[in-house]
């Protein structure tokens, strides 16, 4: 028996039930967490089935949200269905907590739930993310909610949902392997760097969309609960804790993640996912951690990278820690780079 698992799994319900009615921070003009109770119930049922069938896409009746598609309405609906007054929420976008998207979602939940928010991965009980899995290891009981634009990994091969559903039903994934292998034949390597397909619990092909394949290994046997919501496509799926997640690969072309010749200019980390950023008007480019909380933690622990003087200050400003959206430009640059890479 895993005593630690047993204990931590028991912990969270040993406190008295939270009482949302007296929560002064929650805007009384909205139902708690915005969604109506019937919608939450439907999503909750879907999430339990998603956990029971790891990697399978559960259809659900997605609701209109006060944010446009592309702002993570699927993830927001999942978060709204799981979150309670005692939770501490972290929202990240491209690894950073202070992009426009992350700030808006965090403000939204503060208003409609009154929950505490944080930028620290370790403090969060619920983390909503668009592009990254935090560098800091997650723990049992934490919930990672992914905002998914395109949930169907077979979409690029088969546009008809009725057909892709059949392929999933009978695990007919040969065509997907062929497509990846064609990439090897043409380019000498698999060129997919984002949304790289994985096999979950040796059965379902799943899209980690739109995280970089750098993060795929973090999904494997992760102690946390990983939930995925696609609002426009109306799908929920899940990777339970301690579940096998394998990136598709071939014997002669094993799965490999991105590597950088550089280290983070601020904290010196050569293992984390790096973004290339312009730090001054002269166009000087430097690398820094995409996960800003991770980078701050390392600097607080005394780690330093190669950046000095004004460049270091400019970079540090980008990892912010404020809600003013100053990281917006960097985020948009990053998104453009990402599209160009695909």
């Amino acid at each position: 028996m895993n005593a630690e698992t047993q204990n931590s799994a028991r912990d969270h319900t040993n406190n008295p039930a939270p009482d949302h009615t007296n929560d002064p921070a929650h805007d009384p003009g909205y139902n708690f967490a915005y969604l109506d109770e019937q919608t939450k119930r439907m999503i909750r049922r879907g999430l339990l089935k998603a956990l029971a069938i790891p990697g399978y896409q559960v259809p659900f009746g997605s609701r209109e949200m006060p944010l446009p598609y592309g702002w993570g309405t699927g993830g927001i609906q999942v978060t709204a269905s799981v979150i309670g007054a005692d939770d501490t929420l972290k929202v990240i976008d491209q690894g950073a907590d202070d992009t426009t998207n992350a700030v808006s979602i965090r403000k939204f939940f503060r208003r409609v739930t009154g929950v505490k928010t944080t930028e620290k991965t370790a403090e969060a009980t619920v983390i909503q993310t668009r592009h990254r899995i935090p560098e800091a290891p997650l723990r049992e009981g934490q919930i990672l909610v992914y905002q998914v634009p395109i949930p169907e990994p077979l979409r690029w091969l088969e546009r008809r949902e009725s057909e892709s559903r059949k392929m999933h039903a009978y695990a007919e994934y040969g065509a997907m392997h062929v497509q990846l292998y064609e990439s090897i034949a043409r380019f000498g390597r698999i060129t997919t760097t984002y949304d790289y397909p994985v096999k979950v619990a040796d059965r379902y092909l799943m899209s980690p969309s739109p995280t970089p394949k750098f993060d795929n290994p973090k999904m494997h046997m992760n102690p946390a609960i990983q939930l995925f919501g696609a609002g426009r496509e109306k799908r929920l799926y899940a990777v339970p804790p301690y579940t096998r997640v394998e990136s598709l690969a071939f014997e002669d072309h094993p799965f490999e993640v991105q590597e950088w010749d550089d280290a983070c200019a601020l904290c010196g980390d050569d293992k984390s996912f790096l973004d290339e950023v312009v730090v001054d008007d002269a166009g000087t480019r430097m690398f820094m951690c995409s996960d800003s909380d991770h980078c701050r933690d390392r600097r607080a622990a005394g780690h330093r990278g190669g950046a000095e003087g004004a460049a270091a200050e400019a970079l540090a400003a980008m990892t912010g820690g404020t809600d003013d959206g100053s990281n917006k430009d960097r985020a948009e640059d990053w998104a453009k780079d990402r599209e160009a890479a695909q």
């Binding site: 028996m1 895993n2 698992t5 047993q6 799994a9 028991r10 969270h12 319900t13 040993n14 008295p16 039930a17 939270p18 009482d19 949302h20 009615t21 139902n31 708690f32 967490a33 109770e37 939450k40 119930r41 439907m42 909750r44 049922r45 879907g46 999430l47 339990l48 089935k49 998603a50 956990l51 029971a52 069938i53 790891p54 399978y56 559960v58 259809p59 269905s81 799981v82 979150i83 309670g84 007054a85 049992e140 009981g141 919930i143 559903r165 059949k166 999933h168 039903a169 009978y170 619990a201 059965r203 379902y204 046997m221 102690p223 609960i225 339970p240 804790p241 301690y242 579940t243 096998r244």
Partner: protein, 201 residues
Amino acid sequence: MTDNPNDLKPGFADPIAGSQDAFRGLLAAMSYPGSIHRVHLPEGHPAPLSAATAAVLLTLTDGETPLWLDEQADQGAVRAYVAFHSGAPVVDDLATARFAAIAAPRTMPALDRFAPGDPAYPDRSATLILQIEDLEGGETVTLTGPGIETTRTVAPKGLPADFWAQWDRNRMLFPCGVDVILTTGDSLMALPRTVHAEQEG
């Protein structure tokens, strides 16, 4: 169906916070199979339902989820409670039920009589709530599968004699199959269809 409104037990004191809290217990239970979670339903519930069984019904069922009650659970007070708090239609045909509340699991119908979903839509399967004598103190069973890092030992007491043999057959249906929630008093544990169970000896 009871005609006496005094028989109607209250639901969650705060339905929004209460069902959110119970759902988080269920989410953790389904994520970490075999782990035990408590729910909070202090306001009373109709016999013979346990607090946990009642909390699961309040949290997950509504007009869109046909509910089957076994003979022991099918009491006027239970029907009144479900009709008022959940609205789930109580059905006679267990194959059409999305949820089942089973108060006497030792004599329950075989698992394979409930809806397993179909290969294209395996989520359209039944979730069975089995109210058992105790979540601990029964025959020891070792669980493996998604949600369990290595192995987890459980000993639920009061299951049908051949439950684990039936469970094995259920697991072979994957991705189809039923999912089970075991309850006693205010506690519950879950067995998603992915769980592999090994009996000792």
